[in-house]
Symmetry: C2
């Protein structure tokens, strides 16, 4: 238990420190090599890496629609229903985010517009690993579908049987994703960013992944021949902000939900109640023992932090300083605290809103800024799958009205041609009037 | 004159190639050194670099409000009026972009929200160089003001007299920018990203600059202790899409407006009229001779391209392939062509809409995606100065309605604690009912 008000500022910074990110020169070089291989040898390199790491017998990167549907049909009706319930909520919430184009006359005869358009081709990365992640397929696939992206490309590592999890196939089908490729890791990111014969280049790449994937996304986002990416990524994290009214079992299960994601997950409880901390510690011990991912969650909980503050307001200040990816608020008046909360990726209000609700089915997106990026990056949403551009159209009157100011400013900046572009036009208008 | 339809695909790609970006190992290392110096020595390093590169006698990085206002008062009334005209249009257009928060019940008892909030602290970089750029101050300062950013930090290199251009001071005053620091280059970017004693760290850095500034922005955006940035940058560019109805003097002045920005500026005319190309070439020669920035514009025009297509539709296809920062459309029915145009940062429609209108005063933002990034990045707007986050709140009914689907999905993903977080809550609700 950390008693916040007894710490110096430096100790407070330490108490909220995140684990160092995998940023070794070795990782950077390994990923750079993989990118270079894919850039020069295309499909052949992607296939080689995929055979080496994921599926030794793989002969083709493409998963056919028929195969997708055959896999999807293996999902039990109960899970199909659950995926469709989640799909409907996520779709509704992202449809509500559809932006309005703008058209405005700023000066008589000067029309300015801002229009939104879907990105043409998006790459959706779905990690492999110990469990299939149909929820991530929805969190990326639904906004791509709602935005109206022409191409939705999904890459995910195949298993030894050259297949993907049926749940992933089913979720992909729900989202209308037809282009599915059997590859993962840095090689998949490279293929989507640069393009190969089989996998045509995309404009932007989305989705979570291991340190190779994260590093590859960073590297391709730095290259003009690469692709944009959704956001920088770090280990997942939750901060639970609670007072004495909170249920210790609920809080413990929320901390453990985060902890079971990975050994580097961060779980933090901040509360003004020492009794709650004791009760939560006991509940964590009890619940942890029963988890199938016990070893992962135990490892993560070694770094869990229980921070005691002198008031709820001080607890909020701690949360604002940390800027958590997930912020769970279980206080007597959770909604009333919202105006004080500054930085968080997604906020879960009240006792009945566990993180798993947002991870799966409430409708919000579970791709969120980690590692303090909630200060300056947005939670994933429909706008990330679209692009804004502007239009201006001046009429003859518009040119007459605004031309003199433009010439004045061009003069001030010493740009003759900018002034002339208006000058020639005003001359022509004056001649027309003669 | 390039006859598009006679080229192979590879030749077409070459014809639209952009100049290689300054991406030398030397530049990267130099910038990394500057960042490291600022990170370790703070103000002292920033002052040293600023004395070396910009203002040998400088003793303080801070420009006081009094000094800002004193400088601003030196601007002539004519230029003050012009800046205020532009300011009013830019402000109107960015106010119109203010987003709506969303609140939606996705399932009975499950409320999801998306809220927008201003970034807390933004850094606005204004280059120095041969001419002051009050227009860039407005393009960054107005959206920061409209968004409601608490801190707006402006960095710009001082002159030998330890001052900045009066026009910059005046524009900063219009935008309510009080924090002005006298530094430029990579050292200014480092100071804003990492913070120093004088310059408190910002969350996101905006604005154009030379290759050092661009490289420094890239590097700080890759660091968790750095800052987000507006967008990747390359040399500025214009593509004029015209048919035989276009006025050759107008087109020439628009190409030259781009060319005078810098020797690496790109100016491209794409048209189905060989006569127009000839007339524009003649007009360019005539106008170019009279420009004060003749040597810069001449250098850029050496790389200008005049592309002849067989039809307006083919010209649009060329433009879509190039994805220009600025697209000027001077055709018989310019607005009617909009549905065919796919990728452009900002579009200037018709004969009376020169690029200089948007550069200065129409209301649209002049910070736009260059170098083909118009495929996957947005033109700068109000949303870039804000952050989206989500909220969800389940009532007891919401938990009862959605809980079973969440448990089903957690099971499918093998995440026990996620399931338990719902299980404990449903148990408690069931007990309450007993």
């Amino acid at each position: 238990m950390i008693n916040w008000s007894t710490l110096t500022s430096a100790q407070q910074v330490d108490a909220l420190a995140r684990p160092a990110m995998a940023d070794s020169a070795k990782l950077r070089a390994t990923v750079a090599d993989i990118l270079a291989e894919v850039l020069t040898r295309g499909d052949e390199a992607v296939l080689e890496f995929t055979r080496r790491f994921d599926s030794p017998e793989l002969t083709s990167l493409k998963l056919s629609i028929e195969k997708r549907d055959e896999l999807a049909a293996r999902v039990t009706p109960e899970v199909q229903d659950a995926i469709q319930t989640a799909f409907a909520n996520v779709k509704q919430f992202h449809e509500a985010q559809y932006p309005q184009d703008i058209r405005l006359t700023t000066t008589p005869g000067v029309v300015c517009e801002q229009r939104f358009t879907a990105l043409e081709a998006v790459g959706l990365y779905i990690p492999g690993g110990s469990a299939p992640l149909p929820s991530t397929v929805m969190m990326l696939g639904v906004p791509a579908m709602v935005a109206g992206c022409e191409r939705k490309v999904l890459c995910t590592p195949p298993n030894a049987g050259q297949e993907i999890a049926p749940e992933i196939a089913f979720a992909a089908k729900c989202c209308g994703i037809g282009e599915i490729y059997l590859c993962g890791g840095a090689q998949a990111i490279a293929a989507m960013a640069f393009g190969t014969d089989t996998i045509t280049k995309v404009d932007k790449i989305f989705g979570p992944g291991n340190s190779f994937v994260t590093e590859a996304k960073q590297q391709v986002s730095q290259r003009a021949d690469g692709a944009a990416i959704d956001m920088p990524a770090g280990p997942s994290e939750v901060l639970v902000l609670a007072d004495e009214s909170a249920d210790a079992d609920f809080v413990a299960s929320d901390l453990l939900s985060q902890a079971e994601h990975g050994p580097d997950s961060q779980a933090i409880l901040v509360t003004n109640s020492a009794e709650l901390i004791e009760a939560v510690e006991a509940a964590v011990a009890k619940q942890l023992a029963q988890l199938s991912r016990n070893s992962i969650a135990s490892k993560a909980m070694e770094n869990a932090r229980y921070i005691l503050t002198s008031s709820v307001n001080e607890a909020i200040a701690v949360s604002n300083q940390y800027a958590p990816e997930h912020l769970i608020v279980q206080c007597d008046n959770s909604r009333g605290l919202l105006p004080l909360i500054k930085h968080a990726g997604s906020i879960f209000l009240g006792p009945w809103s566990p993180e798993s609700a947002g991870d799966y089915a409430s409708g919000t997106n579970h791709v969120l800024p980690t590692y303090g990026y909630a200060r300056n990056y947005s939670s994933l949403g429909l706008l990330d799958f679209m692009r804004r551009y502007t239009i201006q159209e001046l009429s003859e009157d518009g040119m007459r009205n605004l031309g003199p100011a433009i010439m004045q400013l061009a003069d001030a900046e010493g740009l003759d041609a900018h002034r002339n572009a208006v000058g020639y036009r005003l001359d022509k208008l004056n001649k027309q009037n003669d």
